[in-house]
Symmetry: C2
């Protein structure tokens, strides 16, 4: 199969109880593509400024990520700054400099258009919709978002939601969108709007996958140290969709496994700052953790 | 084996989005004993006032609960009033009338003393300690508590914690006691104080069991309607310990199963107000749900 990922490639300045890093490489598209690259050869669509380091593009290429869709424009790369306290689930955004992302009009290169899997990582829902309009009958479309867009552009967001097959959201986003406190009920309400799968990301509590006919619960790996939580949700989606792309199937059995691979990827990325842990990660480590997830829940 | 449960037998006035019930039967000892009674014949130690209905004692007897340890004293039965909003994990205590529980000095009847399993449900830690002093070399002692005692009597509580084999607490209590945000780290810190097992109850997110050598994660059953969350934690502990008492083993394999039986009991009790669902519940329904828990996490 073939997986297109549309998301941000950015600089992040991050402070956690374990330290501070200035302008390291991040962005939803970056994390998601790197995570997916352990299973498949994703194609990425994004935009960066002239200040973006060539060696990161080289890293993408080394990991067999198709970077043709990364536009380089004059100006500065998107820069996000955030801070986490002792609770890794709580983060404060210090600043968001959209820079070249501000008036980004994402374009699918011609050979990306027939992709069978299209993932709209967290970006402006209007940009997400532009991509949907360009894709040629993908087998599966998936989207992520953040509460910012639920507040800012609820109508655009709901329009995209109704067109995709799979929606990724965290607990807060799922509750906000559905206006329902009970997560299972909230997920079912969103299923009624169109998607076939609602994936509820619960941070340290794992994830809940709601299909039309089944519910699957994936635990989070019991990490004792969360060095930097940035990118966990993007790596979850990247591992999830990368695995599905590899096995070329969306049946319940594979969806369950995909959620566990997603959790595994998320559990690795938080072990170090930014994308550092993904650079040293191997598929055998992922497979080993997949087995540990089995032990964690078996009874 | 033989299981002694020390806890409250009380009246609860409860308001949830599904309605209001005045002075229905509740209390940690009540929920816990009824839940355990599906697996074993527990012995209960508690105190009630003269206003406590005989038919509830008869219900206990019908479910083969030994009620010899329920003292009837002149005065009124313990009465708790609470309210839940849309989020069943958030409750507000409206009033607590300890009544006959106020100066309760719990006594183990002579034939309870050699019990192999002793559970100290949520009561004053000084009362919990009195029981520990009376028990004759139990194979396993377990305790539960609430944040009230962590604030009010931290020293007493820690003294009991150091003497028991198993500690049940919810996320907030585990974090308060250990002064650690990360739940796995928090649990490990408490393990170092003495217990062999720390059971972290996470409500709708399930439970985490930490042993010295393993971690087990049990999901919560994906309930869409929580009619009345009261007693869920007590039923979790009752199902857990009742099952262990029946199988007469505390090895890792049985501890894992016990946590799932606990989750099953908790998932049933919240389907109706007070103890109503437990009255109609059957062992075959519990076994069926146990299988559903397997499907929920299998991949």
């Amino acid at each position: 199969m073939s997986l297109v990922i549309v998301g941000s490639v950015a600089f992040d300045t991050i402070e956690t109880p374990y330290g501070r890093r200035e302008k390291i490489v991040g962005g939803s598209g970056t994390y998601c593509s790197l995570a997916a690259s352990f299973f498949t050869q994703p194609m990425i669509v994004s935009v960066v400024g002239e200040d973006f380091p060539e060696e990161v593009i080289d890293l993408f290429k080394k990991r067999k990520i198709d970077t043709k869709g990364i536009e380089v424009r004059s100006g500065k790369t998107f820069h996000w700054e955030g801070r986490y306290g002792n609770d890794p689930n709580q983060r404060t955004t210090i600043r968001t400099e959209l820079n070249v992302f501000e008036d980004f009009s994402p374009q699918l290169p011609p050979d990306y258009r027939p992709a069978e899997l299209v993932f709209l990582a967290n970006i402006d829902p209007d940009q997400q919709e532009e991509i949907l309009n360009q894709a040629k009958e993908p087998k599966l479309t998936a989207m992520d978002t953040i509460n910012l867009w639920i507040n800012l552009k609820p109508d655009s967001l709901l329009r995209v939601l109704e067109r995709v097959d799979m929606f990724f959201g965290n607990e807060e986003e799922i509750r906000m969108l559905s206006q329902e406190v009970n997560l299972v009920k909230a997920g079912r309400k969103l299923l009624e709007r169109g998607p076939s799968f609602i994936i509820i990301k619960k941070g340290e509590h794992g994830a809940l996958v709601l299909g039309k006919e089944f519910v699957f619960g994936a635990l989070a790996y019991p990490c004792e140290e969360v060095i930097d939580p940035t990118g966990a949700g993007d790596c979850f989606a990247g591992g999830f969709l990368g695995y599905l792309d590899r096995v070329n199937s969306f049946d319940e059995k594979e969806i369950r496994k995909a959620a566990v691979y997603g959790s595994a990827l998320a559990s690795f990325v938080i072990e170090d700052f930014g994308i550092d842990r993904l650079k040293s990660l191997s598929l055998s480590e992922i497979e080993e953790r997949h087995l540990e997830f089995k032990k964690l829940v078996s009874f």
